[in-house]
């Protein structure tokens, strides 16, 4: 391997790592606030890419059907829970949040796509359509078992991923898509060719993690989310509802996953089931970072991206095998080095 090839592989690995980093940060965000390891984030990313491709092709994205079905289910569940508790006064608010708002997002996309808007608007529409998916899944799947152990939540999360792959096939069909490149520019850095897409991926990853950082440090809502992650009871005593904090965490996490989906769609062909490897590698990155640290997760994700890039040069068929098997020592080191949290001791 020459230095030139190493540089090209490194640039490629950083771009891949940046995409994983976005999803990994979202994974850490959801985990710390809700204790759910949300495996389906990769699917959210893949569905965003498929949504954007459908909008590019002037077709109604399958996400529309998915959101409508999920919104109806979530709304029915919330209303029946409220009715059983005798809190009928809260029903209009529940219908607004779980049915009307998602349907407004669908309505906007449905109206706007007739005008065939330019690329940036289509990206915003795709993100708008994907945002309700994770919070609705949270209401349907995780809220009823919110007090369960982390292990049970993880098991359900994996099951949810497989259910989503099935729904993905139903709503998007089996065809793979590749969206239009976001930019055709390219540049030379120290004699190495760097595609504009790579730069764009890196910039987007930095901008979105930067925005998240600002949100956590400078807004009361962001602080409330961190407080919920640190100490649930303490947060409740401040009047912070964990369920509401969870919804915000899912929205922010979906935004990160959605952006990563849009960034990889022009580079890789995305199928309805492409999310799994993306989600898994981001999860691995988050684990390397300790599952609770944002910078740790981002660094871990970059590590996975670089490793994958160099592994694919050695053997492209075995790259995933190489990536995942090199993680075993990392996991061993993590489990030996980490202090056990209180909850792990109880279980």
């Amino acid at each position: 391997m020459t230095a030139d090839i190493a540089a090209i592989l490194a640039i490629d690995g950083i771009a891949t790592g940046a995409v994983y980093a976005l999803v990994a940060i979202g994974t850490v965000l959801i985990f710390t606030v809700t204790r759910v390891i949300f495996i389906p984030f990769g699917d959210i990313a893949a569905f965003t890419a498929l949504t954007l491709a459908a909008l590019d092709a002037r077709q109604l994205p399958g996400t529309v059907g998915l959101v409508v079905v999920l919104a109806c289910m979530a709304c029915a569940m919330e209303v029946s829970t409220l009715a059983r508790a005798g809190e009928l006064r809260a029903v209009p608010k529940a219908v607004l949040g779980y049915l009307v708002l998602p349907l407004i997002a669908v309505g906007i996309v449905w109206l706007a796509m007739r005008l065939y808007p330019p690329m940036p608007v289509r990206i915003v529409l795709a993100l708008l359509l994907i945002l309700p998916v994770a919070p609705l899944l949270d209401r349907i799947v995780f809220r009823p078992i919110a007090d369960a152990s982390v292990l049970l939540l993880l098991t359900v999360s994996v099951a949810l991923h497989f259910a989503l792959v099935g729904l993905g096939l139903l709503f998007f069909g089996p065809e793979g898509v590749r969206t239009e490149p976001l930019t055709s520019l390219a540049m030379e850095i120290a004699g190495v060719h760097v595609p504009g897409q790579t730069v764009l991926i890196l910039v987007a990853a930095l901008v979105f993690s930067g925005l998240l950082f600002l949100f956590f440090d400078f807004t009361l809502l962001g602080k409330a989310l961190r407080a919920t992650a640190f100490n649930r009871t303490g947060a409740r005593l401040m009047g912070i509802r964990p369920a509401r904090a969870g919804i915000i965490a899912y929205l922010l996490g979906s935004l990160m996953a959605g952006v990563s989906g849009i960034l990889i769609a022009p580079v890789n062909t995305i199928f309805y089931d492409s999310g799994f490897l993306l989600g898994l590698k981001a999860f691995v990155g988050a684990i390397i970072g300790g599952m609770t640290s944002y910078p740790g997760a981002a660094l871990g994700a970059f590590g996975v991206g670089l490793l994958e890039s160099f592994a694919s040069f050695q053997s492209s068929t075995l790259k995933d095998v190489i990536v995942f098997s090199l993680l075993i020592p990392v996991l061993l080191w993590r489990s030996l080095a980490s202090q056990h949290s209180e909850e792990e001791v109880e279980e």
Binding site: E87, L220, K223, A224, R226, A227, F230, N231, T233, G234, A235, R236, L237, M238, G239, I240, R241
Partner: protein, 234 residues
């Protein structure tokens, strides 16, 4: 302002609190004293909604059974728990700011923050430090300050003197006494019966989950039986 009627709390089949009734009037400091394991903390957890209970609890005219913990906090019923429940990795200032989360109108946050810092100058010095680095006394000050940021109508304090040095205990009780002038009512649970009765207007004695005695704090503090049992005999 708070009335608790025939409230019972059970952990499984074990009743930790049985048919307890008590009330706190506007501007009053009411204390519940009793030995370890009498059910004092359990009673407070039920009042804030962290534990299920039977019986009736009315706070400023609204039935607490219909409100979750967050709803009670929004109405001005605030608990400073025995474990303090601070956000250890966040700064002192951020902990205090989170106290205002339940308020609709946050225009007075700046002033509330200054008031808390004036009350506890140590917190101002340490405002940029993580809450986890504070000493036990400073943590209790932070927990109290954070609750005051929420502009509570009734402040519920669980063992505020637990594990603190005598000098700091005195400071904490002086602060609790001064809340009267702010118009904040207080429900105070304490093992340090003497200090609690000296600060309070009215007292209840809780033993094995039941109220066995109640009366004005001044009467209780001179009761020979109580002196023998809780007040160290002098």
């Amino acid at each position: 302002m708070l009335s608790i009627e025939n409230v019972s709390v059970a952990y499984g089949k074990v009743e930790a609190v049985r048919n307890v009734s008590l009330s706190v009037e506007q501007g009053q400091i009411v204390t519940v004293i009793g030995p370890n394991g009498a059910g004092k903390t359990t009673l407070l957890m039920a009042a804030i909604g962290l534990l299920r209970s039977t019986g009736r609890m009315i706070f400023q005219g609204s039935d607490l059974a219909k409100l979750d913990v967050e709803g009670r906090v929004e109405r001005g019923l605030c608990l400073v728990p025995e474990k303090r429940e601070l956000f250890a990795d966040m700064t002192v200032a951020d902990n205090l700011l989170l106290g205002t989360y339940s308020l609709r109108d946050r225009s007075t946050t700046r002033k509330s923050l200054d008031d808390v810092f004036d009350r506890f100058p140590r917190l101002r010095e340490r405002s940029k430090q993580a809450a986890g680095t504070l000493s036990g006394g400073e943590r209790q000050m932070l927990a109290l300050g954070r609750a005051l940021m929420a502009k509570p109508k009734l402040l519920v304090l669980d063992e505020p003197s637990l594990g603190l040095a005598p000098l700091i205990v005195r400071e904490i009780f002086r602060t609790i006494g001064s809340l009267r002038s702010l118009g904040v009512s207080v429900l105070l649970v304490e093992q340090n019966a003497r200090a609690a009765l000296e600060t309070a207007d009215y007292g209840y004695v809780l033993e094995t989950g039941e109220i066995i005695q109640s009366g004005p704090a001044e009467t209780l503090i001179h009761d020979p039986k109580l002196i023998a049992a809780y007040l160290g005999g002098h």
